[in-house]
Symmetry: C2
Subunit: 870 residues, 2 copies
């Protein structure tokens, strides 16, 4: 078992061998581990014989029932062995998420029903009705906000930005725990049950990811295969697809949406995971509805009944294009509004301080405002206030024309459709009011600190906008545009579908909302209008604003690399040499321990470059900070000090015994005579046993403090008068000043790197790599830093931070900073290929004229080469 653990540790180290953090690793180690386990199982048969024994016993004692039990046990073993397979995990994930989704939908529907029932039961008194209408959501939202705040504040909001960051390879603490899961599920149920314009899609992506993470941990009880970061990230990507898939019963759209929203580069060979899990999940989700007798069979969530023969006329396409373009502007405006609200709330210090004190006041106030405005007998009558989000969508996707036909008698949703027909107003005004009010309401509501998404509200607004255009078209061309013999009327419901896809696509910057609407409505007849509108909406929105998720990432300052948008040509002229950090701390192969100490004190970098020598600066690899610390603390460790002491004593006593350990044992335990030389290491044991016991008081401070102790002992010895317990113990043999001398002497020794683990191939860039390419490489390989080298010589370093600054710098100051200050010193046409050859020539010259200057030279002439690139 110990060797297995060691092997695993070695493997995990090997995983980071190549790059600092290589997220796209695609389960290499999961599979390595699986192969290893399989081999072990094949070779050793260590664990399997044991469970078989009781069954064999049973066969002798019980007779008839035994074969069944043997069979059952074999089945069980088979299942346990198969638990390691991906598809078992994906099926479990799909199943759990479908159940969660269905249960939540059921709970939300019950909540909404309860509100309707309360509202309907109190129809004798408007005041009471109002109180019931307003209090119910306020209580729910406040509870949701409070509950989330107390249990896990990480559950607040959509979760897609965080998932995007996590999938990028950044570890966000507490975002995938059971606590957050519970907070998110319960908080989201309450928030949606309140009837506020909030969505469940984003949170579901987060919930599915948490579910996958928890499931991994649970299944890892059956074997070590799940304890692997690369594999987990792979599974998280599949989980995101499941989240969208089981939320909308849209497996294809779910996979595509999750890819577009969370990934930068997508491994096609992981495609099937998402499809498999999302399909299974959507299937179970819909089957549950059938079993619950909600539906007769498996159909779409918001089934439409548009005619198939002639879905739309060619001449209607301009109208669809208009919807697309308008949605693009609308989407950008929504993102802008949402961000401004958040920033306003943050900037207003007085408001902020007040709200921070009473954390639940802001959600309550917002809910009060929104629910007051939607109160059906009040202003709500002009904006179909009594409809739930689901009812709204159903009515908007209706295939009748409202303006002309009025409420159709044969229509089954008669009751809810009436909401759009105010007796003193017409459908157009209701729709316009609905769109305008819902727009700011949704932008405001999504800033409430509860688990909530913005996809569904935006989707509904888009549908309403599409419906508005469709109704206008229907009013304009009452008999359809086509002038041929058989005239087909315009279907405003089709416009609603197009609008929904376009606006949600614009807000999230995705094209796959098109697929989602097809799967949601169960009809694909409007594919071309939808595609045209979505692409136009994306083109407009992407040129105006970041996506909602990127906007939140920026607001929350999550460690994510911004995307390079379209047409930001100015920053393709930036090169790595313009943004890299030149003044980096490094470790040389022939350095002294004192240098290590200086480096550790002067930098906070997690890994340090190891160069051959300060003169040559040839990059040999990178060494982790912890390793450097360990080296240093080992060098200054009390054990070595004791050994040194003992050696000194030996030298003083004039004894000539070669083994220091034996000598030490003699001097401390004062045993008479020389012990047997046959086992020279063994007698050391008692002495060593004593030293750790004396050290046992200090280690509880943590393993990371190892260096700290050593350094403290170094500095404190001269400044502080009172000796620590440790020093007391060792003080018997060495005085503080002696220790200081000894440590100074130790620090002057050259470093022995033989015990340190070194990453021999940290990722390297060259000075002329463009910002664009650097961005590509960083996002492709999930790096967080890279060294900049020039023919093997380390000249700088670029980390995620510099890269983000460079991209954002040219993003915000668009048009002003066409080239960064540093770039202007460079003649872009003439010197493109030259510096490499210059540097090479220098290296070559060095070889030619003074053949061995590396160790011999004082480093003065070579040192000047480094800032040459400027």
């Amino acid at each position: 078992m110990a060797s297995g653990g060691e092997a695993q540790r070695a493997l995990q180290y090997e995983q980071t061998l190549m790059y600092g953090r290589y997220t796209q690793d695609l389960g290499t180690f999961a599979k390595d581990e699986a192969a290893r386990l399989r081999l072990q199982r094949g070779d050793g048969e260590g664990g399997t014989p044991r469970p078989r024994r009781p069954s064999e016993l049973l066969e002798y004692t019980q007779g008839r029932c035994a074969p069944c039990r043997v069979c059952a046990l074999q089945c069980q073993q088979f299942l346990v062995s198969k638990v390691g397979e991906d598809w078992v995990f994906l099926i479990l994930l799909g199943l759990v998420m479908a159940l969660v989704s269905w249960a939540m939908d059921f709970a939300i529907a019950t909540c909404l029903q309860a509100q309707k029932w309360m509202y309907g039961g109190l129809d004798t008194n408007v005041m009471l009705q109002y109180l019931a209408w307003v209090t119910y959501p306020t209580v729910l939202i406040t509870f949701s906000a409070g509950f989330t705040q107390i249990l896990a504040p990480q559950a607040v909001g959509s979760g897609i930005p965080e998932m995007k960051t996590i999938l990028r390879g950044v570890v966000l603490k507490e975002y995938l725990t059971l606590k957050t899961f519970l907070a998110k599920v319960i908080g989201l149920t309450c928030a949606l049950g309140s009837g506020m314009p909030l969505g469940k899609e984003g949170p579901f992506v987060h919930i599915a990811s948490m579910c996958a993470s928890l499931l991994s941990r649970f299944l890892s009880l059956f074997g070590g295969i799940y304890e692997n970061k690369a594999r987990n990230i792979e599974m998280l990507a599949a989980a995101c697809a499941v989240g969208v898939g089981c939320c909308f019963a849209a497996p294809i759209g779910g996979v595509l949406f999750s890819i577009e929203v969370t990934s930068t580069f997508f491994a096609v060979r992981n495609y099937w995971r998402g499809f498999f899990a999302a399909t299974f999940s959507a299937f179970i989700f819909r089957v549950l509805a059938v079993w619950n007798k909600d539906e007769e069979t498996i159909t779409a969530l918001f089934k439409t009944r548009f005619r198939l023969d002639f879905p739309f006329d060619l001449q209607e396409l301009p109208a669809f294009a208009v919807i697309g373009i308008a949605s693009g502007f609308g989407g950008a405006l929504f993102v802008y509004l949402n961000r401004k609200i958040v920033q306003f709330m943050r900037r207003q210090k007085t408001i902020n301080r007040f709200l921070m004190k009473k954390r639940l006041l802001f959600p309550a106030l917002v809910t009060l405002l929104i629910s007051t405005l939607t109160f059906p007998p009040g202003f709500g009558q002009f904006m179909a206030g009594q409809l739930t989000q689901k009812d709204t969508l159903v009515t908007l996707f209706d295939n009748q024309t409202w303006a002309k036909q009025g409420v159709s008698d044969e229509f089954e949703y008669l009751g809810i459709l009436e909401a759009w027909h105010h007796p003193r107003s017409n459908v157009f005004i209701t729709l316009v009011v609905f769109i305008l009010m819902k727009f700011w309401m949704s932008a405001l509501a999504t800033t409430i600190p509860v688990p909530c998404g913005a996809f569904m509200p935006v989707f509904v607004i888009g549908a309403a906008f599409g419906r508005l255009v469709g109704e206008s078209m229907a009013a304009w061309f009452p008999d359809g545009i086509h002038t041929d013999s058989n005239s087909y009327r315009i279907v405003p419901g089709g416009y609603a579908v197009v609008g929904a896809a376009a606006l949600s696509g614009a807000v999230t910057h995705t094209v796959s909302t098109a697929v989602i609407v097809f799967e949601l409505t169960g009809q694909i007849s409007h594919i071309l209008p939808v595609m045209i509108a979505v692409i136009l909406a994306n083109a407009v929105a992407q040129s105006l604003q970041p996506s909602l998720y990127d906007s939140i990432i920026r607001i929350k300052k999550l460690p994510y690399l911004p995307e390079l948008g379209w047409g930001h040509h100015e920053k393709y002229n930036v090169r790595v040499e313009d943004i890299m950090v030149r003044d980096i701390r490094y470790v040389t192969l022939n350095c002294k321990y004192r240098d290590l100490q200086h480096v550790l004190q002067s930098t906070k970098m997690k890994s340090l470059p190891l160069v051959e020598s300060a003169e040559s600066m040839i990059l040999l690899g990178s060494i982790e900070r912890a390793q450097v610390g360990a080296l240093l603390s080992h060098q200054l460790s009390p054990q070595r000090r004791l050994q040194a002491l003992q050696q000194k004593a030996l030298a003083e006593d004039g004894h000539q015994l070669s083994d220091a350990g034996i000598r030490f044992q003699i001097s401390t335990e004062t045993s008479s005579g020389a012990p047997a030389r046959a086992a020279p290491r063994k007698p050391l044991k008692p002495a060593l046993k004593r030293v750790p016991s004396s050290l046992a008081e200090t280690p509880p401070a943590g393993t990371a403090d190892h260096t700290g102790i050593a350094l403290k002992s170094l500095f404190c010895a001269s400044t502080s008068a009172e000796p620590t317990e440790e020093e007391m113990d060792l003080g018997e043999k060495m005085s503080p000043s002696e220790i200081l001398d000894w440590e100074e002497q130790q620090l002057d020794q050259p470093v022995d790197f033989s015990s340190a683990k070194i990453d021999p191939a940290p990722f390297q860039l060259v000075e002329h790599t463009s910002l664009h390419k650097t961005h590509t490489v960083f996002s492709l390989l999930g790096l967080d830093h890279a060294y900049v080298t020039s023919i093997g010589r380390l000249v700088g370093m670029v980390s995620l931070k510099e890269l983000r600054k460079a991209i954002e710098g040219s993003l915000t100051a668009k048009g002003v900073k066409v080239r960064p200050p540093l770039a202007s010193f460079r003649d872009s046409t003439a010197s493109a290929g030259e510096p490499d050859t210059t540097a090479l020539r220098q290296l070559w010259d060095r070889h030619q004229h003074h053949p061995m200057p590396r160790e011999a030279g004082p480093g003065g002439d070579d040192g000047e080469d480094t800032p040459r690139g400027q």
Copy 2:
């Protein structure tokens, strides 16, 4: 202009700076170039004033018309400036491809109509009918095969395997030329017009790619932005989507299918290109049909009319699952059969030799066989032989139940539907015969050397299989499965849709065929059955056989990296050190020209590693073979020889003039006295002018021969007696033996690398990188080789070839070669992290004990370190 060209060359060099071939570069340089061009336009305004001048003149002379012209010119300038934008390119590509697709469809339909007409017109005589039925396709196929063979043999086959390889970054010659385009378009039209079971999808991917490539070249006349490989590959990826999109009018499915089929890693930010172009193309393609009055409006290609309310019962799902699993086996069988036919034809030497002589015989024979069997009055009556592929699909997707209802009267395709109802047989037998016959016919027909795909034939077979299951289900449950009040009958057409998606998904190993069928049929109501069947079919097929495209790649031995399939755990235990080439040729920084010559003679590698010295082996970069050749030929160039001669002459004459050029001019042209020293380079001109003129006879052999010349002059001088013209010319000053001496002397000089272009950051791996990770990195970055280093020291090299061998080795000998021979020498658990530290310790020891051994030591003790890793 010269400096611009230089800058561009420099940029193109810079592009390969980072890795040998970095395909995923995402248009960095296109954009760089765009920014540069914009800057130039902004700064210089070099080209714009000129076209304006005539318009300004016009304004003075003509008056009224002038503003229009100014306006038109400005529009033109605007358009030209916008031509550089991606979307212009994508729109043009979509437009052209839609036109091509539509025109081809029209031509194919005409061809098929002609056959029908001939067959119908000769109904008095069966013999004549047979002759017409058989001759027509034979002539067309033979013409297609001959035409393709003569014009461009690269046009043969699907083209998807080649596109996959090209997108991987490998340059395949002649695959994207105008000739191939013409051959493919005309050949494909004839092949499909013959009515053979061939498809147009795969070839369309190829055609679209060629179209994109040609369009790039055409548009590059307007500016330099299109002359960039990375950008071209990006555009080719979009073109693949366009190909599928405009072939099936399926934009979403097209994008997804092309991603699945051609990519390994997909950049999400390129997503929109595909969507945009494919949507536009599909739109135009369908609009053309509307304008041609084929359709009333834009609808799906194979529109179905299944009921929306109750598309299928929950209890029908097992039947769909059965279709999926059976399709999986069928798909694997199809790929196997196809490969076996090809291999059989290749192995049978006698057949092969005979067929090779008469290249057109094989296509003619196959066509004769297939068309004889489908002859409607003959055997064809049992397999609906008279139906074209399109008619077959339309009838298979029909929403009536054939078995029970017989031919429905109200059905509009009355005529063609009758084909399935043989008077002396029943539908089931017809379907079974159809499936069995078409199966081997399609597998055989796709091996004919004409441009053809296999997607459509497989799709049709799948549909027929689905229909068969559906009809069986309908016969089994005549009133539907559901036992409730309102019973819904089973829709066999839905089964046909599921079967088509499943079988084509199994053959191509894609999930996106699901989306393609939705777009093809215009209905998405069967989404869950389709998804379930496609996933099951993929699971089965992928575990049995490679995809059809991968199979062709393997048959054609294209330079493509095979995918790692599911569950091949055994090869994750292989490491780079097991597969790398250890004995590689390298160039050292302090080497002599003679060494370069040896290296060039001993290896064929396109790029050579440059190491610091043979002892240290520290990798400094890689240098291209051509660069090494250029260095060598420059060193041995006649010019330098002349200079040397002249210097020698100088030395002999005792003159002390410093400038060699001047001296030379004096000695050859015998001008009296010393010329002015102010312009020392100028007088050299006449002499230089003469030398190229004498060399002008030899260069036509090609620029790659530069080294060849130099080397030839070196070797030939001693062996061949007759002096070449060049030597004759120079022989006046130097005798052959003198030249030999001089060259020997030159070869002993150390190399001056200052003029060579060196890639300072070739991609590096470490010895312990697993095969799986290596595969990932290679496919992610599109590498074709990587150096294996150990702390900066070059220890080996891995190229695509080794990697492919390693993967295929463990793929073919599954279960036998669990670990490769080399791996068995390694203790996998114990030595995981050790060798790095060992190597490091050696390096460190070297520093400790003999501080400067690199140049000083004879290299004996360090040289032994290199094969240490074994």
